[in-house]
């Protein structure tokens, strides 16, 4: 930078002004500086700037993993927005180490200006963060302990899914959940119960089985589903697919003998046999929303927190239908 200044015959500060498009620079001076920059191939040093400015222009995104396409596409959506605002995106997974360690590395050592946390866990220790640190949490239910929240209304989604089955005439509706400690599981369970209650159906605890999101766990859950069930809500598509496979292996027809609805509208959901009825979630847009919230939080003064609620949308394909006549 000093070299550029010398070549252009100005001070380093003027070069800085040109680079940052600061007002109050003569056109002539600006051109001279730009010519010098071009001639020397000068590129500003991002780290030096971060250091001087006291901000990094880098944001963090932590997610349990990237293997799950929902997280990956959340993150891709966030990146596209952040990049457009001149921020870089640092990724950290926390599936193999405590969340606190992420905070320590990225936040306490001031490597990032803000953080997007994608977490299905209610008990994630967001309290490990300084209270005023710019944070957007992408979660599965409304919550009070966080200033900026983007959440998917899982309760509503599960209610819609269950109502879809009820509307088709099902009354014995099973449920295959994810791990009980995840907030979206709790919420979806609540939505399922609410829909049943509204239909005047008392909930049979034996109709709820716990899986671990994997297709295999969906497959295994089938064995425990009481035979009188004619439909099932699976809390994600993978388990729905496993469940369908198991039902077929057990000699049932889907949807005639067992209707199955999933969650996520994962890629190729329409290519399974039968094409999956599911609750669609625009994961890319969710990531974008998180990024926009974070940008707003960084720009605005310590404004009051906002919660953005997103809803899922029922996509009816062929894995659900009216119950067959009683055999």
């Amino acid at each position: 930078m000093r070299d550029v200044a010398a070549l252009a015959g100005v001070s380093h500060q003027t070069v800085s002004r040109v680079i940052n498009h600061a007002p109050g620079v003569t056109a002539a001076t600006r051109e001279a500086v730009e010519a010098a920059i071009h001639q020397l191939g000068y590129r500003p040093h991002a780290i030096a700037r971060s250091f001087a400015e006291g901000r990094t222009r880098t944001l963090g995104c932590v997610a349990p993993n990237l293997t799950d396409f929902t997280y990956a596409s959340n993150m891709e959506g966030a990146e596209s927005v952040l990049r457009r605002h001149g921020y870089d995106l640092l990724f950290a997974s926390y599936h193999d180490r405590p969340f606190e360690s992420v905070v320590e590395t990225l936040v306490a050592r001031r490597r990032i200006d803000g953080l997007i946390v994608i977490s299905p866990y209610v008990d994630l220790p967001v309290s490990a963060l300084p209270a005023d640190f710019p944070l957007v949490l992408m979660g599965g239910c409304p919550r009070e302990d966080v200033n900026h929240l983007v959440y998917l209304d899982n309760r509503d989604g599960a209610r819609q899914a269950t109502e879809h089955l009820l509307a088709l005439g099902h009354t014995n509706i099973a449920q295959v959940t994810g791990p009980q400690q995840e907030d979206c599981v709790i919420e979806r369970d609540a939505g399922y119960r609410e829909a049943l209650a509204a239909a005047g159906i008392s909930r049979d605890p034996l109709l709820t089985l716990e899986g671990d999101w994997s297709a295999t766990s969906g497959y295994e859950a089938f064995a425990a589903i009481p035979p009188e069930a004619t439909a099932a809500v699976a809390q994600n598509d993978r388990m729905a697919v496993g469940l369908i496979r198991a039902a077929r292996d057990g000699g049932l027809r889907v949807p005639d003998d067992l209707s199955v609805i999933g969650f996520d509208d994962m890629p190729l959901a329409s290519y399974f046999d039968p094409p999956l009825t599911t609750m669609r979630q625009d994961t890319f847009a969710i990531g974008q929303t998180c990024a926009e919230q974070l940008i707003a939080a960084l720009a605005g003064s310590a404004q009051d927190g906002r919660a953005v609620r997103l809803v899922s949308e029922l996509v009816v394909r062929s894995s659900t239908g009216p119950p067959a006549q009683r055999r």
Copy 2:
């Protein structure tokens, strides 16, 4: 840091030594400093350190997108290794802007120390990078223009896939490719041809159709496949799934009337109907390997480049079988 030094009654340099576990610090001094650090809640400032050191301890990873699970899991694998070595990982996609712009932002402005480029494109302008910049390219074929390369032997994979079909007794084997400008497409085509040639079968150009990796394009390709074909190599699983769907919609049985083999062994490949025969690639391990190569490149002196070759593995499920008797 100066505060810590004052509290401990030492110089800031000694504090620096303690933080970096430098040798030549008395146990007593070390303890005093550590006590002061603890008492003040001091955390080193990562950016200041980067600035002083002239290196960022951050590496970049660019990929076309994260929606494709292969890229996402490459990246996740890379992250797990880099994190263990104390590096952070900056992600940038280049699906909505030129690669040169990524280079400009991250490399020219010295935000990162090294870069992993995941690219299926032969014509990616890696030349936009300074010649000596630590770079690992994750590609689809051997190439000379890059120092550190991790590549999947796609030619070998396609050869294996085609040989599998030949061994089952097929002689009319179609091929559905990805976009022709991607290197893995060229390589897989070559492997397909080699296998046919080795079996003494002359290649019919009409048997090769071009798709765009999407299931839809696989579906559409079916219409153009000559009816005498009894098997098809699809260059990824999504197109294989689309192809199977189209074949069934066209009244064919899979695999009896048409065997289909895919590439990738994507999640749930075994849950499609029929379960997909495919070429498995350990994408997580590929990402890890890239990261290890990059770490080595950063540590070692300007050593000669290395190319790491990885191979895919045939996974036989039920979408391939011997051709049915001629109807």
